[in-house]
């Protein structure tokens, strides 16, 4: 069950939204392995984004269920089930509600394998809708992937297409380590794509060149990929060739793809929704400054959320979440340097 297989030749496919792709992956995971259980706040009725729609009906209340309202409890339950050899898929209703669960994540989930010297590995998937773009209330648009990346022992995956969402989620379920799977709320219904039927996996730790280019590298993931592609397309008009790297997985990180792109372009812009200070861009930048500085022709620029909370509702969101214009301005900074 741990072998990951890429998409089979001849596999049929369907056009679907990102949330449908997630739902499809969850259904297949439940179908393939009786150890898989799916739970979280309101997961039984399909979840607030309908990612688990219909799954309780198909697989029963024993395997797909609501929990009491506690993120620490949901993470702790997942750890306990993992200790006992089950394969829990836990949902945090919004990534902004991960904070009460950080004790269980940091002190337990990430450390359990080492604390038991490999005797109690935890094969857990934690799904969390993250990020902004839909005018949500306070705390509902946070991007805490950087906090989770600080935890040794957990992996982090963030898809940007329906195809990847399904394949990466199925790979995460097969993975022997705890995997955080952040799903961009903005992309749930705004993006459609071809998704093969049945089981396939996209391997963790491999970035995707979303657009090739030679003048500048843009590193991004999740909800920012479409924004960066838009900026890259606009830059083309100005005669600039921008490479957009969709990291797909922050831990493990695809150092090879990053190295190759930086080596080629010598200029790097990093884009994420999270705050700048201690966002995952800090780690990306540090890695590049440590390993590939000889290739750099310009400062590494971060285009990110500001060092402030994500603002609620419509009032100021447009000034907070990076858009193509801001990415373009970041690109200009590095190419004009």
């Amino acid at each position: 069950m741990t072998a990951t297989t890429e998409r089979q030749a001849g596999q049929k496919s369907k056009t679907m939204t990102m949330v449908a792709a997630v739902n499809d992956a969850l259904r297949i995971a439940l179908e393939r392995d009786d150890k898989v259980m799916l739970f979280g706040e309101d997961v039984g009725m399909g979840g607030v984004f309908r990612a688990s729609d219909n799954l309780q009906t198909l697989y029963g209340e024993e395997r797909v269920f609501n929990t009491p309202l506690s993120e620490a409890g949901i993470m702790g339950l997942a750890v306990g089930l993992g200790i006992a050899g089950e394969k829990p898929i836990a949902e945090l209703q919004f990534a902004g509600f991960i904070y009460p669960a950080l004790e269980q994540i940091n002190a337990q989930m990430g450390r359990y394998r080492q604390r038991t010297q490999g005797n109690f590995p935890l094969s857990i998937v934690v799904r969390a809708p993250y990020g902004g773009g839909i005018h949500s209330p306070e705390m509902h648009a946070d991007s805490p992937e950087g906090l989770v990346a600080a935890v040794p022992g957990v992996k982090i995956v963030i898809p940007s297409t329906p195809y990847d969402a399904k394949g990466l989620l199925l790979a995460a379920v097969d993975d022997p380590d705890p995997v955080f799977f952040f799903e961009s709320i903005k992309l749930y219904r705004s993006v459609k794509g071809e998704v093969p039927e049945g089981h396939y996996t996209v391997p963790l730790g491999k970035a995707r060149i979303a657009r090739e280019g030679s003048d500048c590298t843009v590193l991004c993931y999740g909800g920012m990929v479409e924004v960066c592609l838009e900026a890259a397309a606009a830059a083309e008009g100005a005669g600039l060739s921008v490479e957009v790297v969709d990291l797909r997985s922050l831990v493990p990180l695809d150092l090879e793809t990053i190295a190759a792109s930086v080596q080629k372009t010598g200029r790097v812009v990093i884009v994420h929704e999270a705050t700048r200070r201690m966002g995952f861009g800090a780690e990306l930048s540090a890695i590049i400054a440590e390993r590939y500085i000889e290739y750099l022709h310009a400062p590494i620029v971060r285009v990110t959320g500001w060092d402030a909370p994500y603002p609620p509702f419509t009032a100021a969101e447009h000034m907070y979440r990076p858009d193509a214009a801001r990415v373009a301005s970041g690109i200009r900074k590095v190419v004009e340097y």
Partner: protein, 360 residues
């Protein structure tokens, strides 16, 4: 009143009622003075009118996601009315009626539900804190505020609301226990409306009721009919008096029902039959209940009713005008008030935002 509405609801077992659902008086000893009676009634009416209107405004795109409270106004109006000026109130997102009773202006409330910064600038004089979105976080704060008041010997109390679902969070436990341990003048009101989005209380916990938690924190637990505003008023007042006497906190479980969707974004049809909601709506409406009682005493008329409704509609209209005139949000708003003085890099970020505005 239909037959269904008359069925006793097991959730209400052991709760205090002052009025029966039909408005008949059960506890003459617990009826407050006329002025209070009228202010409780108009408080509920005004709140309900606002709530209905807010749902419409939300559908028109004039508010963000709105957490409606219609049908539950008695818990909030009763509890808030029982406090004094200077007492603190810590609401959940569903606490708009608490804010209204505390005197927060409707324009302010509308701006809050638009996410306009002005809507967050709560007036410290009102002693009501902003709507808490992350669940249960306010409970330890309540212990802290109450401890401060105790230390100063002001006789003020701090009251927090929380949902039935919210009682499962660690912060609920931690905060109530702290308040108990410190003997702090706090009141915790569990607004038990039967649901946490799609999760019924029976899935939330195996406890028969939530007031039973009180003993484990060394404080009294009180169960009350949350749709009976006189009962709510009474138990909150008693809890506040206990607290002021230095006898420590109280845990109140108010049984009510969420007859509406969770918020303007929710579709309860996905997870429940509406029969129970219908029964509560038609049979246990808190406004109708008190009105029937007031009418039986000749204290309320249809004319007065119309007057309150119309005044409220006018007030909301005026508030909308005011809210619409709120100043445009400047880029500064994003980075202001993070620290007393912005950090140097934040000033640079502000320049970035301004430059982008110029670009577009």
């Amino acid at each position: 009143m239909t037959a269904a509405t008359l069925l006793p609801d097991p959730r209400l077992e052991g709760t205090l009622s002052v009025l029966a659902p039909d408005g008949s008086l059960l506890r003459p000893d617990l009826v407050p003075d006329d002025e209070t009676l009228l202010s409780l009634y108009t408080g509920m009416r005004r709140a309900r009118v606002f709530d209905d209107r807010a749902m419409v405004l939300q559908r028109q795109g004039k508010l963000g996601v709105y957490p409606c409270f219609g049908g539950m106004e008695a818990t909030q109006v009763g509890a808030a009315t029982a406090l004094e000026h200077g007492d603190w109130v810590l609401p959940t997102y569903r606490g708009t009626a608490l804010a209204m009773v505390r005197g927060m202006s409707l324009a302010h409330i509308l701006l809050a539900w638009r996410g306009h910064p002005a809507g967050y600038q709560v007036d410290p004089e009102l002693h009501i804190l902003p709507f808490y979105i992350p669940i249960a976080n306010q409970i330890p704060h309540t212990a802290g505020i109450a401890l401060a008041e105790k230390r100063r010997g002001t006789g003020r109390v701090a009251m927090a609301f929380i949902g039935d679902g919210g009682t499962s969070e660690g912060d609920f436990h931690v905060g109530v226990n702290f308040a108990g341990a410190f003997g702090a003048p706090a009141i915790f009101v569990i607004e038990n409306n039967g649901w946490a989005i799609s999760t019924p209380t029976s899935v939330q916990t195996a406890a028969k009721n939530l007031a039973s938690r009180a003993e484990g924190y060394g404080m009294p637990g009180v169960r009350v009919d949350g749709n009976d505003v006189l009962a709510m008023y009474h138990v909150t007042r008693e809890a506040a008096e206990r607290a002021r006497r230095g006898e420590g906190p109280t845990l109140i479980e108010a049984i009510t029902y969420r007859i509406l969707p969770h918020t303007s974004s929710d579709d309860p049809g996905r997870y429940r039959e509406e029969t129970e909601a219908q029964a509560w709506k038609s049979g246990r409406d808190p406004g109708k209940r008190l009105r029937a009682y007031l009418e039986s005493r000749g204290m309320w008329s249809e004319a007065q009713e119309q007057q309150v409704m119309q005044a409220m509609e006018a007030e909301i209209k005026a508030a909308m005008l005011l809210a619409d005139q709120a100043p445009e949000i400047l880029p500064e708003a994003l980075l202001e008030h993070i620290y007393a003085e912005p950090l140097p890099e934040m000033l640079e970020q502000l320049e970035e935002i301004r430059a982008l505005g110029a670009l577009e």
